[in-house]
Assembly symmetry: C2
């Protein structure tokens, strides 16, 4: 397996660092629009693991927005797999470039949605991933695989859902992905500060888009933002966090392969963050349309959302000042294999102190990066295989969870996952 | 009396329109940095009242930031009084220019404060008006008058406080200015929108500065923003509004002339607006320091607060889409002249539909503009007189309130005020 990893930002950087401890691939080419960023990733690997590991990595420049650039770099390095680790707005160009180069493709977020033009808070318009699934026939005919939504959420959450369907339930009422954390960021004086652990730009996009829900007798539909608030009790000391419906890939993926009455995604944003997002929307500060603003250099045109992002600490820099854990998982309700009502929460927790110590990566980013590496390893060994556009739930879950949990000393990833049952 | 009115923005424009119905002065020169704005004010007066009224008005250009420009225009027009109706950041330059030209001076907001460098939420630094009161000796020696803080709040509120001290109370426990409104702005479809009726830039400045409180045994001191929240029930159908301490001139003015145990100012911002201001502060979007932001024309430097102001509707444009009333007043508690405990709220209410119909001015702006016109008339007739730096409470209140309330047909302003007692 020869991997072209596109993007050496937070998640791409962590993918390379996690993969550096594995041996299932022949080479990884780290491509970024800023080649210095890709070099820095390879340099970290060299410093931590030595030249024999770093020699399997190459840094290069790539333009993710240009399918020709993607295809050219993939061909040059004879990539068998293109791993997309950049912002979702580049999904379609990378997806096309990988196909042109004859490589298989993986991503962690799917092509973007567009709300319904007249009824956005009730009906779907163009859905997440629609642009990719529209190409399913072409990929199948070519015998190529695109494994889409293969991060932690979507990704591990979909694996958990498949596991529940295969082994724990005879009938599923709801597959409810629930994501929450108790992360706190402090300034140099030790005071808590407001500093999201992920891009505020992307979070606004996710949270202010109409959330999508799937029901068997109704199909996909949307609601207003922040609908169906629910206090969810997260495990391992994280505790109760207010969660609301958010548009997310799981809701588009799971119903394609798994049988359930209802599929939802709720994000544990917490009261404060929900309030912040509502206020930004109220004031028009979520907008990506440039407005005219006075400046000392005369009037300038800026998008308010870019200003909000620029005013906050860079999420890439807050890892050392952050404490706490993040949890990703799926709450499954229905009828157990024994015919009795059952409700379980399948989850994985990442602790920021541990991920910083082991990988110099903050936990939200690291947890996302872990999963595509596991998936690539399963594809490399042939444990997972397929063609067309497939989600993680299209593949058997047990070998995935076994490889993830097995101790590193025994060739696994040493990452325990949990099953909580009342 | 020959008046140089500086500023033809919202309040300056309304001052000219209100004065156009009066005859106590010889001429009013309307000066603005943008002479077209001053012309527009005179043009409105011509259209509404005819050439015989408009002939008493002259439009001119003036640079409020330059004392020499202020003095030159004042001298050219032989101004006896300079009426400052621009942003408070120009107080010191206009104040100096008026003195240089030998004119008396009035304003509606005093020179700006600077927080205490090490203990901002407990101790005062440079207080509102300090730069002006420092010149009191010079103005007194020259026999000139500066009447400071003569809008509605400060202004009418101080007149009410003087009235309470003179006629209603033998001992005052607290002079508590309380300001609230039930204004609603709607978009073209009739939906309520977030659109402050006053400059968000100035409101952020007022509300995030440390609020100041005066106590007889302690003097002036400060608290954190939004301290001592209180639900105040405003009269004439406005109802309950959440009020919090805000830095305001009344607290600096009243104790200099009136005897009270405590002086406070609370602003009825309401839950939603307080939440918005807290969020802007949390995200650093209240800042006036430019930050680097990406734009289609490359990186630019903008102050987040300027972006917030630019994203909201211009307060000058919302009058026609606004409904509701605004109330300014003082809650006075203490011992009545009969020796019994007493608590009264003295207030004035302006209704936006009425101010729009009569003056093409939204009610918050109009209510502010009304009071300096009344004060100028009392100075012109000699009912009020004095030298040095004086607040409204330094003058007798009864003639002011009588002139304000007397019907227009009888030579008054026809503006009823209220006294509410439990």
């Amino acid at each position: 397996m020869r991997i072209l990893l596109i993007g050496a930002g937070g998640v791409g950087n962590a993918i390379a660092k996690i993969a550096a401890r594995r041996s299932f691939y022949e080479t990884i080419v780290v491509g970024d629009y800023d080649p210095a960023r890709a070099e820095a990733t390879v340099e970290w690997i060299r410093a931590r693991h030595g030249q024999h590991v770093a020699s399997r990595f190459t840094a290069t420049r790539i333009d993710a927005s240009d399918p020709d650039s993607v295809a050219a770099v993939a061909r040059e390095h004879r990539a068998t797999h293109v791993m997309n680790a950049v912002e979702p707005k580049f999904v379609e160009s990378i997806f096309a470039g990988a196909f042109a180069a004859g490589a298989d493709y993986l991503d962690m977020a799917m092509s973007l949605s567009h709300p319904h033009p007249t009824d956005p808070y009730a009906r779907t318009g163009i859905k997440l991933g629609d642009a990719q699934f529209a190409q399913a026939g072409v990929w199948e005919a070519a015998g190529r695989l695109a494994l889409v939504g293969m991060g932690v959420e979507p990704g591990l959450s979909d694996v958990f859902a498949r596991y529940a369907a295969d082994e724990l339930f005879s009938h599923i009422q709801e597959l409810g992905t629930r994501d929450g954390a108790n992360l706190v960021v402090r300034d140099d004086e030790g005071n808590e500060i407001f500093a999201p652990s992920f891009s505020i730009w992307t979070t606004i996009e996710e949270c202010l888009n109409p959330p999508v829900i799937w029901e068997k007798d109704r199909g996909w539909y949307t609601t207003p933002p922040f609908s169906e608030p629910e206090v969810f009790d997260f495990p391992e000391g994280i505790g109760e966090v207010e969660c609301v419906n958010v548009e997310h890939e799981e809701v588009l993926l799971m119903p394609r392969w798994l049988d359930a009455e209802r599929v939802t995604f709720k994000y544990g944003l917490g009261d404060e963050f929900i309030g912040v997002l509502k206020t930004l929307h109220l004031l028009g500060l979520d907008s990506t349309d440039p407005i005219r603003v006075r400046s000392t250099a005369g009037p300038v045109e800026v998008a308010p959302r870019d200003v909000v992002a620029a005013a906050l600490p860079d999420p890439a820099t807050i890892g050392p000042r952050m404490t706490g854990k993040t949890c990703a998982g799926v709450q499954v309700t229905g009828t157990g294999t024994d015919g009795l009502p059952r409700s379980v929460y399948l989850y994985h927790v990442a602790d920021n102190e541990w991920t910083m110590r082991e990988y110099d990566a903050q936990c939200v980013v690291w947890q996302t990066a872990l999963n595509p590496v596991i998936a690539l390893e399963l594809l490399a060994t042939g444990t997972w295989s397929g063609t067309g556009i497939l989600g993680p739930e299209a593949f058997p879950a047990r070998p995935y969870l076994e490889l993830m949990q097995r101790p590193e000393a025994d060739g696994g990833y040493g990452q325990a996952w949990g099953l909580r049952e009342p």
